[in-house]
């Protein structure tokens, strides 16, 4: 119970700090502008404008969510360490583990709220100009949220031991690699060399499988989805998030902040 209180105290402070960050507002504005632009250009497509609104909208909300997580996350721990504001916090009876979990909960909550706001705008656009809101669209938003959360956690992990530039570089690299995980799998199946197969399979196992969270094609064409297509990526996301939190805790616990 005490641990929960400590975590919620850190989470609440982090949530407030993040929400006040102007980067969030700018990226939200950018996402809104892109969605409206998507609606404008959809009328020039000679057909299926609602598909283009949904495609561009879903893509923009996910990418903006990732960008918010990235730009705000990379300075999260680093900023407190640099300004030494972390020292009085950790001087209190607050284990570093609780600090990390609290940071992630607060930051993840703030990013999720902004992500939800962007998607509400998208749903409004779909309701007014598109073909309405389907369950598949909502599922797609839900699965992309896991992608945003994993990027949030990765940014926090890198922020706990390196500079913002390097954190951004590492997070972007993992994001891009994760987006192409499906291609790595295809490449593995076509690759006859055993030793490189082993390396690639290791890479494939480690990097986040963001392709699993992408059901945007199924969403826009309203194709049938199995419950496993939603459940398994959710469990995978939860497991991956746990791994990152544990890793962040270990790294941060060993870090000399003096």
């Amino acid at each position: 119970m005490e641990a929960l209180n400590r975590i919620s105290a850190v989470a609440l402070t982090t949530f407030r700090e993040t929400i006040r960050n102007k980067v969030l507002l700018h990226l939200f504005g950018f996402a809104a502008a892109m969605m409206v632009l998507g609606w404008v250009v959809s009328n020039w497509s000679l057909g299926e404008p609602e598909k283009i609104i949904a495609d561009i909208g879903l893509s923009v909300t996910t990418l903006s969510g990732v960008a918010i997580a990235l730009f705000s996350g990379i300075v999260l721990v680093w900023g407190e360490v640099e300004q030494k504001t972390i020292l009085p916090i950790l001087a209190k009876p607050l284990p570093r583990r609780d600090y990390v979990v609290g940071k992630l909960v607060g930051f993840g909550g703030a990013v999720s709220i902004v992500y939800a706001g962007m998607n509400l705008l998208l749903l409004l656009l779909l309701l007014v100009f598109g073909e309405g809101i389907t369950a598949n669209i909502l599922f797609s938003i839900y699965l992309s949220w896991w992608e945003v959360l994993i990027i949030t956690a990765l940014a926090l992990l890198f922020s706990s031991f390196s500079s913002p530039t390097l954190s951004a570089l590492y997070t972007v690299m993992l994001f891009v690699a994760g987006r192409f995980s499906e291609d790595i799998r295809i490449y593995i199946s076509d690759n006859p060399l055993a030793y490189s197969r082993w390396i690639l399979e290791s890479v494939y196992a480690i990097i986040p499988h963001f392709g699993a969270f992408n059901i945007r094609l199924e969403a826009v064409h309203n194709l049938q989805l199995t419950s496993g297509r939603l459940l398994i990526p959710s469990l995978y996301g939860l497991a991956y998030l746990t791994v990152i939190v544990v890793l962040t805790t270990i790294v941060f616990r060993r870090r000399d902040l003096a």
Partner: protein, 291 residues
């Protein structure tokens, strides 16, 4: 010089600059507008778009499609309409060099010079090969995107006379979009008008009419084909339905011109309700009922 004067000078300079910016916009448009040959659309391959869109293939497909549509609109066939109108007026086959040809086999509507002028007029546009490649790549990225199949097929056939390529892309659409009536309907059009395959066309239109969401005009057309209405009437019905369905204004205009010159004909009117017509379609299409 006092401060107020200096400030006034700065404001005046700013206003002159602003007026210059606005005035120069037209000049800029002139010098930056490229000739069509110079602004050829580069068609990146599927893998490149996949990488560029960070694996978001559907959004990548949309952006490529919109870029292609803008290009084709900029190099539109509209400017070539005058030549087309001349041939249409003279009911001349393109190969006749615009001279009137009146002798044709009236038993087959495809030999009618008006139809010939419409269907086989090759504009030789540089956009034609691009259109096939564009539609092919967009639909590789998003196989469920119906518009590129339909637009590319109708444009390739009706504007460039390249119906083999049109057939190629629409066949891909029929395969990839089994729940959409549009590729089947347009394949039926190509089969009837360009391949004279009445049985195949009737079967495609019947299948299109049975798919949920097919407009009533397609169902009526299927019925007209099924009851073996006269060729001319069926052809005109087909064009009327295409005019109603298409979103492309240039194509609409082309069909309007054609209907004006060729005559309104007798429309095969199906007065029954859509569901009743649908129920009867299967029995109507037992064998080749077209004459």
């Amino acid at each position: 010089m006092n401060e107020n004067f200096k400030e006034s000078i700065i404001v005046i300079i700013g206003m002159i600059a602003l007026v210059s910016v606005i005035a120069m916009r037209h000049l800029l448009d002139k010098v930056t507008t490229r000739e069509p040959e110079l602004s050829l659309l580069y068609l990146p391959d599927k893998q490149l778009i996949h990488a560029f869109a960070l694996g978001d293939d559907a959004a990548g497909a949309d952006l490529l499609w919109l870029r292609g549509v803008f290009y084709i609109a900029a190099n539109s066939v509209e400017e070539k309409q005058e030549e087309f109108q001349h041939n249409l007026k003279n009911k001349a086959h393109p190969s006749s060099g615009g001279k009137r040809e009146v002798i044709y086999d009236k038993t087959d509507f495809r030999n009618d010079p008006t139809f010939q002028a419409i269907l086989f007029w090759n504009l030789n546009g540089t956009e034609a090969p691009l259109l096939l490649g564009l539609a092919d790549r967009v639909t590789d990225l998003d196989p469920g995107f119906v518009t590129p199949y339909v637009y590319a097929a109708t444009s390739l056939a009706l504007f460039y006379g390249r119906y083999k390529e049109a057939r190629q892309i629409i066949d891909k659409g029929v395969l990839n979009c089994p729940n959409s009536w549009e590729p089947l309907y347009h394949r039926g059009f190509l089969r009837l008008f360009y391949e004279n395959d009445k049985v195949g066309a009737a079967e495609d239109i019947r299948r299109a009419a049975m798919i949920p969401g097919a407009p009533i005009i397609v169902v009526q057309l299927a019925a007209a084909l099924g009851i073996g209405a006269g060729q001319r009437d069926v052809a005109l019905d087909f064009l009327r339905s295409l005019r109603e369905i298409t979103t492309d204004d240039v194509l609409k205009q082309k069909i309007d011109d054609m209907l004006k010159v060729y005559g309104e004909g007798t429309q095969v009117v199906i007065t029954e309700r859509k569901t009743d017509v649908k129920e009867k379609l299967n029995s109507m299409f037992a064998g080749d009922s077209l004459r």
